[in-house]
């Protein structure tokens, strides 16, 4: 990928179209994007309208313990008699929040480090690239696990630490973008008229090179959701919130007597991760038609 991927690489749409129409045109060109976006829309709606859709309070303890799916409890109940359908609805919020917050943190850090490395070159670049390489190779899942075990397992700590360890791939992409964009004439003229370096980076380099980062950040959302659910599964999740990983973990003790507990919550993880993978992959193909 030596060519810079900029907005020009995207299919040109007539100028009079508004943003929503442009997004629609982009989504429409690729099946993966289409399926992924529909799934995501569905999940966001579930998350937003959870209080309206839920039949019970997700924390209300009922009388029927481990009741199989029925008309009263669509997806059954768990060991404490809580309604699984309502819990799973609320769990959507947790997963989406973890995914977005951690991916945005790693997106921002990666973009800034990569842009500075690529634009400055020389010693700054060598130093930042070396740090980048280290973070690319570190066994991050175990580091996250260690921090969650030591510092307590609040959701905020989990989100921040996933974000802080996941920026390396973004930085590498942004560095490659910055390296090629800085050779373009408009950047050279900005330097010539004496614009500040950080101004050039934030005003020109980042906006022009951000597209691959958006695609990779979408993929990182999937990764973050999987990491959070794995942490919950080994008992390091936040006990004060409802998370799908935790429901799967709880269901582990009732695999024979209550198959529904783990099955449905895990299925939701699959759907959510899948939707972000599809969107990320689709975006990559739209940006870089060679991949088709």
């Amino acid at each position: 990928m030596s060519q810079p991927i900029t907005e020009q690489a995207l299919p040109q749409t007539p100028k009079e179209k508004n943003v929503l129409q442009r997004i629609y045109t982009i989504i429409n060109q690729n099946n993966q994007l289409k399926i992924g976006s529909i799934l995501l829309l569905f999940l966001v709606l579930i998350g937003v309208f959870a209080p309206l859709l839920a039949l019970y309070s997700p924390t209300a303890l009922g009388d029927g313990l481990l009741v199989p799916p029925s008309a009263e409890h669509w997806l059954g109940t768990d060991k404490l008699g809580r309604d699984l359908y309502s819990m799973i609805l609320y769990g959507t919020r947790t997963s989406l929040m973890v995914g977005f917050v951690s991916a945005i943190i790693s997106g921002i850090i990666g973009t800034i480090i990569g842009a500075y490395a690529g634009f400055y070159g020389g010693k700054v670049e060598r130093l930042l690239t070396e740090i980048n390489n280290i973070f690319l190779m570190m066994p991050t899942f175990f580091l996250i696990l260690l921090v969650a075990a030591l510092f307590g397992n609040s959701l905020i700590i989990v989100m921040v630490i996933i974000g802080l360890t996941g920026w390396a791939s973004n930085a590498r992409l942004m560095r490659a973008q910055a390296l090629s964009i800085r050779e373009r004439t408009f950047i050279k003229s900005s330097i010539a008229i004496g614009e500040k370096k950080s101004f050039i980076i934030f005003k020109h380099i980042i906006p022009n090179g951000i597209f691959p980062i958006i695609a990779s950040t979408t993929m990182n959302i999937s990764g973050a959701i999987l990491i959070e659910s794995s942490l919950s599964f080994i008992g390091l999740g936040d006990p004060n919130i409802i998370s799908w990983g935790q429901i799967v973990f709880d269901g582990r003790s009732y695999m024979t007597s209550g198959w529904w507990v783990s099955t449905f919550s895990g299925f939701m993880i699959v759907i959510t991760v899948l939707s972000f993978y599809l969107i990320g992959d689709g975006l990559n193909k739209v940006i870089n038609p060679k991949l088709k």
Partner: protein, 323 residues
């Protein structure tokens, strides 16, 4: 080449240094005092406090503490487990066997299946088979491995009763010879299937896309123009060039093998590092956790150097790109 190797070794050493510093910082930053972390107890006995203070020099400056910590590591002392009061290194060595058995076998199987599928689908791109395999690769890629493992247990152990649910051997029996291996194989089958199913998409996608990429390069077009048969081009030129990325990724994955299978081990109570780690988490055996983390970082760094050097040997173009 020497220059390149040197560079990679420096990066490798830096990874180890950063991991050590991180480990040390985590002990210092974690809530409560370091003695609580190192002893794993909220109120350790005065004698224990004194011992730990002396060993890690906790009454000295932060810098001296760090030197002390590194000194202990250099002697191969990763700390002493709270659970068993044994050296961490020794405990890890005792538990790594089953993990390597599970991890290495599944890595090789996944590599072979994934690459074969990738090559086939790249050659017959757009065929129904390609669409089905590519589509399901997304789904398996999105599956949390612990959930897939549980589903397999529910189907093949709980409902059908074909395979055992957990462990590596049946503890109620005392098999020897062939029967013993058969028993291990039965226990291995479900965790291995889980890991293979979630890893295959990875190799599949890399193999497929690198074959497609090589097929679209100019020299292939030239070969076609010479009238060489499609299968000859494929076997002689495409395959050789396209297989490199898969091998590299395989090498890198080998480094992460222990963390990769840890969660699946937990699901199936496989007696390896995963279950060991879970115990350490639940009993707050921090020295053990940190020891595992350090050892992992070191093995990743070493594997990375080996893989990079082999890769540079196989594909010398990489040396020029680095300059």
């Amino acid at each position: 080449m020497a220059n390149y190797i040197q560079k990679r070794i420096i990066t490798g050493i830096l990874i180890i240094v950063v991991s050590i510093v991180l480990n040390f910082t985590l002990i210092k930053l974690s809530p409560g005092d370091p003695i609580r972390v190192l002893s794993g107890q909220d109120s350790p006995s005065p004698q224990m406090q004194a011992e730990l203070t002396a060993k890690y020099g906790l009454d000295q400056s932060v810098f001296m503490q760090f030197i002390n910590y590194v000194g202990n590591l250099a002697k191969g002392d990763l700390g002493v487990s709270i659970l068993s009061n044994q050296p961490v290194l020794k405990m890890i060595m005792e538990r790594i066997g089953p993990t390597l058995l599970l991890a290495l076998t599944t890595a090789i199987i996944a590599l072979i299946i994934g690459t074969a599928l990738g090559i086939y689908c790249a050659r017959y791109r757009g065929s129904r088979f390609d669409n089905i395999v590519s589509g399901s690769s997304y789904i398996f890629d999105s599956m949390p491995n612990f959930w897939l493992g549980m589903m397999l247990i529910m189907i093949f152990s709980s409902s059908l009763g074909w395979l055992p649910t957990s462990g590596m051997v049946d503890l109620r029996t005392n098999y020897t010879g062939f029967n013993y291996y058969l028993d291990v194989f039965k226990h291995w089958l479900l965790p291995a299937t889980t890991i293979v199913l979630v890893t295959v998409p990875y190799y599949f996608r890399i193999a497929r896309s690198s074959i497609i990429q090589v097929m679209s390069e100019d020299f292939i077009t030239t070969l076609r123009a010479t009238g060489m048969s499609e299968s000859r081009i494929f076997n002689k030129y495409v395959f050789k060039n396209a297989i490199l990325p898969t091998i590299t990724v395989f090498g890198i994955n080998l480094a992460y093998i222990v963390t990769g299978v840890a969660i699946v081990e937990i699901v199936f109570s496989w007696p390896g590092m995963g279950s060991f780690m879970l115990d350490a988490i639940h009993r707050r055996d921090y020295p053990l956790l940190m020891g595992i983390y350090l050892l992992l970082s070191i093995s990743v760094a070493i594997m990375m150097i080996i893989v990079d050097v082999i890769y540079a040997y196989l594909d010398p173009r990489i040396l020029y790109k680095e300059r």
